[in-house]
Amino acid sequence: SWLWLHQCGFDPPHQSDTRTVYVANRFPEHGHYIPQRFADNRIISSKYTIWNFVPKNLFEQFRRIANFYFLIIFLVQLMIDTPTSPVTSGLPLFFVITVTAIKQGYEDWLRHKADNEVNGAPVFVVRSGSLVQTRSKNIRVGDIVRVAKDETFPADLVLLSSDRADGTCHITTASLDGETNLKTHFSVPETSVCQSVSQLEALHAVVECQQPEADLYRFVGRVTITQQGEEIVRPLGPENLLLRGARLKNTKEIFGVAVYTGMESKMALNYKCKSQKRSAVEKSMNSFLIIYLVILLSEAILSTILKYAWQSEDKWNEPFYNQKTEQERNSSPILQFISDFLAFLVLYNFIIPISLYVTVEMQKFLGSFFIGWDMDLYHEESNQKAQVNTSDLNEELGQVEYLFTDKTGTLTENEMQFRECSINGIKYREMNGKLVPEGMTGDSPSGSSPQLVIHINNHVKSVPFFHRVSVQITEELLFLKAVSLCHTVQISYNKSESWLGGDPFSHTNSFSFSHMEYYASSPDEKALVEGTKRIGVAFTGCSGDTMEINTFGKSEKYKLLHVLEFDPNRRRMSVILQTPSGGKVIFTKGAESAVLPFATTGEIEKTRLHVDEFALKGLRTLVVACRHFSPEEYIAVNKRLTFARTALQRREEKLQQAFAYIENNLHVLGATGVEDKLQDKVPETIEVLRLAGIKVWVLTGDKHETAVSVSLSCGHFHRTMNILELLQQRSDNECAEQLRRLARRIKEDHVIQHGLVVDGASLSLALREHEKLFMEVCKSCSAVLCCRMAPLQKAKVVRLLKTSPEKPITLAVGDGANDVSMIQEAHVGIGIMGKEGRQAVRNSDYAIARFKFLAKLLLVHGHFYYIRIATLVQYFFYKNVCFITPQFLYQFFCLFSQQTLYDSVYLTLYNICFTSLPILVYSLFEQLVHPDILQAKPGLYRDISKNSLLSFWTFLYWTALGFTHAFAFFFGSYLLMGEDTSLMSNGQMFGNWTFGTLVFTVMVITVTLKLALETQFWTWMNHFVTWGSIAFYFIFSLFYGGIIWPFLHTQDMYFVFVQLLSCGSAWFAIVIIVLTCLFPEVMKKVLYRHLCPTSTQKSQVITSRKAVRFTVVNIRSMTDCCHCGNLLNNGIHFCNVLQSLREMLRVALGFVE
């Protein structure tokens, strides 16, 4: 599926808050009617048309500061007389712009194609009494659309009717939010009878609803149906709306009226621009660029000033041999000055390399493939590999200092398993499909104390002999019924293939339990329903408003009157049912803090105690409660609910009030404990990350006991840790006091490690006033756990850390929709491909299948990307200083006349051809340390933390190195040639171009070899491009200098290079200058390695030793080379070569294929 990244900020103008849709576009014949304008059903994800492509694309490209800079340089070159021809900057710019334009044009063409496919898809629409086939783009708001099974909805439709009598249909929204469960959508009874075209033709209905908005789960509207002159008003909610992009399931066909079309559909509104994240490397790159810009400007200004200082003397200003034209003499000095300044700017502009951006982008784009390709990040069971959503942040993976992780689904499997429950104050465990009270073992189901061992299967029918037991059985039964009824689980009756395949309703009659599978948006609910089914109270189906359960073989039907849906603020959900005996009952389940305060009867205290005990074991807890309504009560309840549901204004608020009114006076039935298993290798991963210097924070919505116990079991908290608590703070002062107390405790006792537990409420207090104090406490804790966090609070915590004075790099990892805000807020957002939909994955920068993959992603890939890009950036600046400084120095010897030292072609090709590939290959393949070692020694991650390879001092080192080398190139050549002797054995003299070419040759070789010195990992490609680049330079120069070029107006370079190479002194000079530049580098490396080796360098030694050992092992296993194993000293090398040759061949062949 393709993303519409470019549909940002689509916001059609709305005249009013609601839109009125006349079903089938039957407008009222009388009365005033103002036609509203709606968007058509065309989806436009493309960005350009044929006509606006060129201007729009160019405009967008030149909005990038680098492109704009080069455009300015190019224009300056066009306008004034500059030392280099406009081609030198125009050509690379043209190249970059064209390549980008082609890429974007191609992508847009693909989008056009996809759009056309979508817009041209055939759909059936009811028009003038018959079903008409038309194209999707022709659907108008108000059209009645027919959608058949397994088709996607072409627009946002309000369901009118389905082929089922109750007017419901099942859909899946997998492509919208990733939730794969079946959802039931409803139609209002008045329209659900219109199951044929003719009936629909007779339907007079008006839908009023809110204007389009992006929230997928919000829809407020009402439908007014006119029947026999009587107007019936029915509320419409999200359960009536079929979203574009969702797919019809288990239902033969439906009719719906289009309410939001085309770009106004919720799906289209949801494809938003992602916020642009910039990596730390990019930021430092930009600040380095500014420094270089300053260098450039000051060099240009200095040159201009010196030029005028020289020119103040007439003999230099206008010697007899170089007179000025009249025009030059008469031009205004200010203009002259400006144009000289610009000319110097042009002369030195290459110091800011255009190719840096191109190379960085290519490196990021190509380099990011390695993440997806990594076998170690591939999850066998779920067949998922790592996914890269943005390649801009690769190197940031190597810089993480704080890691924020969600708990459920991230640290845990999110595979819920019903384990324990508490009913009426007695704790039970589930064992082999039986509930066993605490203290009993499952092995003795009807053991020694029959009054406590309640084995429902045996006892439910027989009359119990103890009254207490019988009460308990009733309570148990009620509890189990409540659990099996209070949910929104769907059932799919599939046989063997995937549930999406068959048509379950075709064999409804023959279904049995075993074919039944539950689908729920919440894994807890699913676990609970499955749990009760195992025990004997099975939810068997829901048809229309009837819920059916099978209680120990006896089927019972409950009429579903209302569902009070779950929402994160209330943290509970309820169903109102009519029991088979006709009574009205509400079952409520939710977080203990959301239910127990509203309970009045039942074993409240015991239940609370049990819930805490469950939580301590790391179980997820829910409290179940009920309330029986008297008929009068129910009437009031029903009225309030219906009123709130039909409200057009402030419906949510009214609903909340109604819910609060209803969910009260509850009778506690019990609590459930659901286990969520830890993911594989979570403790190890957390330990490794901690060793790497990354602080791990767990942010969860769970209650504090659960969170702490999971934290302990996953190694986030240690048993030896001193756990500090900041919980249930009610007021500002109290919170500040507690914070100060904690800070004192940390100070007093700094030997031991501290862990901090904070809950959401206390956190918001702490953040409001005492941010600094809080941060202080947090930083001295080695582990922080935040529980009871709302999604936005998670993001807030991330932002707090992100904006703290040290500006640490943060990484957030999560799997659910509630983690999206945190994922988007953090520097790097990682989505876990879990069970809670794909929203987190969609909004993340990288997505992985399991938490444990983080270790390799950060420690290996992060390390690789960081050293690669950091060296890339530094090297680019270095090589451009080397490139331009000799030009600057030359000005001192040519009266600041802006004479270039190198030929224009060399100026143009230096960055594009001669020095581009080695650094690109380096930046794709470099490995300082073997990946296994990186993972085995997480401490190496600290070596590169805090952007150390791009610190100001390293930058200064590289820049200084660039200047030193440039001086060496220039003055080396100067000393050779400046003594104005001939270098040729025939006594002839060289000219200025030979001088420049000598400098250039030395430079290309030195710069390439400098990178070779930096390279630690020499694959055949590195060899190829390194030596190939130097060879290419020689071959190209011979070719370029060997021809009188017909279209060039000067032939300055003709045979210059050959003449240079034909003299021995030049060769000697090249060798000595290159080696003089590189020797100090070698020295420095060796001395550093021996005097103060970094841990990275130490590990390199291990790597190489290990490599030898590996080789030995491999050699032994190779039959044709086994004798080498004995002759280690001589043999290893030979075999090594043999093996690498083989490997190389294999790779080369793979490439050809």
Partner: protein, 339 residues
């Protein structure tokens, strides 16, 4: 609209050395154990090469004669400000045999042939013998494109216009008589310049090609009269012209004037007294320039140049010293890999 994600695509990544970033690679480590022997070897080699280069350079003989004439005692003093044709001569002696072949250079200082406008002030098409550009020279030659009457100048431009026009002759005092040392004006310019880059228009006689053009203002005679004796040294392929047209890189430069290759002197200039006669035309006084004549012989590596020899010796010794330093470090701190 939204593509189906149903079919189970083979999601498993390829397990190749390339995709798993496990390409076979050479992972050299620059440690003392490798670098010390390397430095010693390279250092020794450099010192050897340096000594050889230094000796080669030392053997080259050089005779430099400044004839600017800014000192009133100098024989060329009179010519310094003279506008007339002026000749002066200088005598010098060569103590030992000046081994041949001897190269005769003239040198200028403070002369900026490397100025951008000056260097660009030429028309390569014209010099390639393209007659179209005789009529309409490139504007890069301004203000040396057209004369005051708008007649095109050929060859145009400041570079050609400022061609060096002092001439020299050298005589050997043999038994009190002046014996002219024959100077060979061939082979002083690059072969490719002479044969390919510069060409006379294929018009005979050459003078016809220059119809409707003017000579450069500073030139005493037009291009087609640069060497009337030799048709292959005339016009744009006159070797003195070619030598001048190859711009010097730096403000103090030497240009090859003649070679002494004649039979009597093919082995060099014998010891004795010589007279250099200068026809002094070229003004350098205005920009404090100096003019000189240099006699030099060359080795396989060119003229006298101590730089390379010294550089090799210095760098070579540095290498050796550094390897000793590293050895000390190595002995004291041991290998990093030992812990």
């Amino acid at each position: 609209m939204v593509k189906e994600e149903q079919e189970e695509s083979p999601n498993r990544p390829d397990n190749t050395a390339f995709t798993q970033q496990r390409l076979p690679a050479w992972q050299p480590i620059l440690s003392a154990s490798i670098v010390i022997p390397m430095f010693v070897l390279i250092g020794a080699a450099f010192i050897g090469v340096g000594v050889a280069l230094f000796i080669a350079s030392r053997d080259i003989q050089l005779q430099e004669l400044d004839y600017t004439g800014d000192d009133s005692a100098h024989p060329c003093y009179k010519c310094r400000s003279s506008t007339e044709k002026c000749t002066c001569s200088m005598t010098f002696s060569i103590p030992n045999l000046f081994k041949g072949p001897v190269f005769f250079y003239y040198g200028l200082t403070n002369y900026f042939q490397n100025q951008r406008k000056y260097g660009a002030s030429k028309d390569d098409n014209q010099l390639y013998g393209d007659l179209d550009y005789f009529k309409d020279p490139s504007s890069s030659c301004d203000p040396y494109t057209l004369d005051s009457r708008n007649i095109p100048i050929v060859p145009c431009g400041a570079l050609a216009n400022s061609m060096f026009n002092d001439t020299f002759s050298l005589s050997h005092v043999v038994n009190g008589t002046q014996k002219i040392v024959p100077l060979n004006g061939k082979g002083i310019a690059w072969w490719t310049d002479y044969n390919v880059k510069f060409r006379n228009p294929s018009v005979t006689p050459l003078i016809n090609a220059f119809n409707g053009t003017k000579k450069p203002t500073n030139w005493p005679k037009p291009a087609y009269e640069l060497d009337t004796t030799d048709v292959y040294n005339n016009g744009f392929i006159n070797q003195d012209f070619l030598v001048w047209m190859r711009r010097a890189a730096l403000p103090d430069f030497r240009k090859l004037y003649r070679r002494i290759t004649h039979d009597d002197y093919v082995n060099g200039l014998p010891a004795g007294n010589y007279t250099l006669t200068i026809e002094y035309n070229y003004p350098v006084y205005s920009f404090n320039g100096r003019k000189k004549v240099v006699l030099s012989n060359v080795s396989w590596m060119g003229g006298k140049n101590d730089f390379l020899g010294i550089a090799y010796i210095v760098v070579g010794s540095m290498c050796v010293v550094m390897s000793i330093v590293m050895l000390i470090v190595y002995a004291k701190f041991k290998f990093a890999e030992d812990d």
